[in-house]
């Protein structure tokens, strides 16, 4: 391999590790402009695009990686994670089965399967997959954090906290464990501690999605008016874009049908109330996110990034 490309690839990998996705993408662009058939670069580009939730582009890069190197395990795992984000669960499971046949001792495969089960709400199976993963690689801190997260999802906060503390003892700066500790603190109302956890992770990686989620949860807890929007938004968008669109269109149709029925039956005061509620909801759904994001940006602006980022 061209030494310059090798160096760029290493840099891109480092940037990805620290969460500086944009810098990683720029390095990978340079490699791919010089060598468009570089499987590792395509796979890494897929990973970077996945971190940006650019699922379609990620899958395209993964395909290019696999065209050049059909057994590229990294590319295949990224493909599964993209399918998970796309909510194509069945295909994701079958791709994982294929991977497992090729390399049954790869702990990452089990961890990815755990994520898949977790997103599908199958907590027990997710836990089982994580236990399998830890049997293969007992020192995998990420898998331990995932186990702690499952405990938290089950409502077993002390166990989750204990597991997260164990990971932090191993690696004080482990982002996943710190975020999980933050969520544990938030559950018992220790907002300042939760904020400190979130800020310490964001100092390492300003784009860490879990730390941002924690910070958003803290903000939502502090302000019920904006918090309601966040909970509503999470509920509406949790199952993907198509469901979101369906819910919004159905809500609009329901409003119009109720409004029309009240008009036909001459209930003018009830009709006016329904219309006011609808207008209030529309205004709220435009204003609340703008205020919420503004508050979040203000808080993020006060975080000093570490030199590694």
């Amino acid at each position: 391999m061209n030494p310059a490309n090798h160096r760029l690839l290493l840099e891109a990998h480092q940037f990805l590790m620290f969460g500086n996705i944009d810098a990683a993408i720029e390095r990978l662009r340079q490699v791919l402009a010089d060598d468009p058939n570089h499987a590792d670069a395509h796979a890494l580009m897929g990973g970077a695009l996945l971190a940006k939730s650019r699922v379609h582009a990620c899958l395209h890069e993964v395909q290019l990686a696999l065209q050049n190197e059909p057994d590229h395990a990294g590319a295949r795992l990224i493909e599964v994670r993209a399918l998970l984000l796309k909510r194509s669960f069945k295909i994701a499971h079958s791709k994982l089965d294929e991977l497992e046949e090729i390399d049954p001792s790869n702990a990452e495969i089990h961890r990815t399967r755990a994520d898949l089960f977790s997103v599908q709400g199958q907590i027990d199976r997710a836990e089982q997959a994580l236990i399998e993963s830890l049997k293969l690689d007992p020192e995998d801190l990420d898998a331990q954090v995932d186990l702690a997260e499952i405990a938290l999802q089950r409502g077993d906060r002390p166990k989750a906290q204990h597991l997260a503390e164990q990971v932090i003892r191993e690696q004080a700066s482990h982002r996943g464990a710190l975020v999980l500790m933050g969520f544990c603190c938030l559950q018992v109302g220790q907002i300042d501690e939760a904020r400190a956890m979130s800020r310490s992770v964001l100092m390492q990686n300003a784009e860490d999605p879990d730390a941002l989620r924690l910070l958003v949860s803290i903000k939502a807890r502090e302000n019920w008016f904006l918090g309601f929007w966040w909970h509503l938004n999470s509920w509406v968008t949790r199952s993907g874009e198509k469901r979101t669109m369906l819910i919004l269109v159905l809500a609009y149709a329901l409003f119009r049908i109720v409004d029309g029925a009240l008009a036909i039956n001459d209930h003018s005061s009830a009709r006016a109330s329904v219309q006011w509620v609808w207008i209030a909801l529309c205004v709220y759904s435009w204003m609340a996110p703008a205020i919420f994001i503004g508050m979040l940006k203000k808080e993020l602006g006060g975080i000093k990034l570490s030199d590694d980022f």
Binding site: I25, L28, R29, Q30, L32, A33, D34, P36, M45, L49, R54, H56, A57, H60, E61, E241, M245, L248, V249, Y252, A253, R256, I257, G260, A263, I264
Partner: protein
């Protein structure tokens, strides 16, 4: 050295300086009508060189065809005596509006991703408020005339 292009990135054309945030065509459908909003969405897609521009143009065409089909379907039900005049007219208006919102919202979310990337790569966007206000004014002034032209024109423009 040529830069490597990622598949979902826009390829701005000479008209890119006329592009707007997709929220403006979305407002246009509320204040003006689909006659303004949907072609505007399509123009925006072509201006920024959206990778999904043909899909978006297709959605605009499907949108207009769908409106006509809904209208003809409901008129057929009305003619067959399935609905009363009042209920039939209300159902027609609601069905058309729901269809209009669904198509517009799909166009909005599809275009929003591309526009974010366009902005990220240094693209500048215009403010579309003047066109929305103009659309609202034209719609208000022409509405009585449009209604007189009959159902076909009304369905296409509303």
């Amino acid at each position: 050295m040529n830069s490597y292009a990622i598949i979902d990135e826009p390829k701005p054309t000479a008209m890119a300086h006329l592009a707007v945030q997709p929220v403006w065509p979305l407002f246009a459908v509320m204040f003006g009508g689909s006659w303004l909003s949907w072609p505007w969405f399509a123009f925006n897609a072509f201006a920024v060189g959206s990778p999904t521009k043909w899909k978006e143009l297709g959605a605009v065409c499907v949108g207009f065809v769908g409106k006509l089909l809904i209208a003809f379907g409901l008129i057929a039900l009305f003619d067959a005596g399935v609905t009363s005049q009042e209920t039939g007219f209300l159902a027609l208006i609601i069905a058309l509006d729901v269809w209009k919102i669904a198509v517009s919202y799909w166009l909005y979310i599809t275009q929003d991703r591309t526009i974010e990337l366009f902005k990220y790569t240094g693209g500048k966007l215009r403010n579309g408020i003047i066109l929305v206000v103009a659309g609202f004014y034209i719609n208000q002034r022409l509405l009585p005339w449009i209604i007189k032209q009959g159902l076909f024109v009304m369905v296409l423009t509303r």
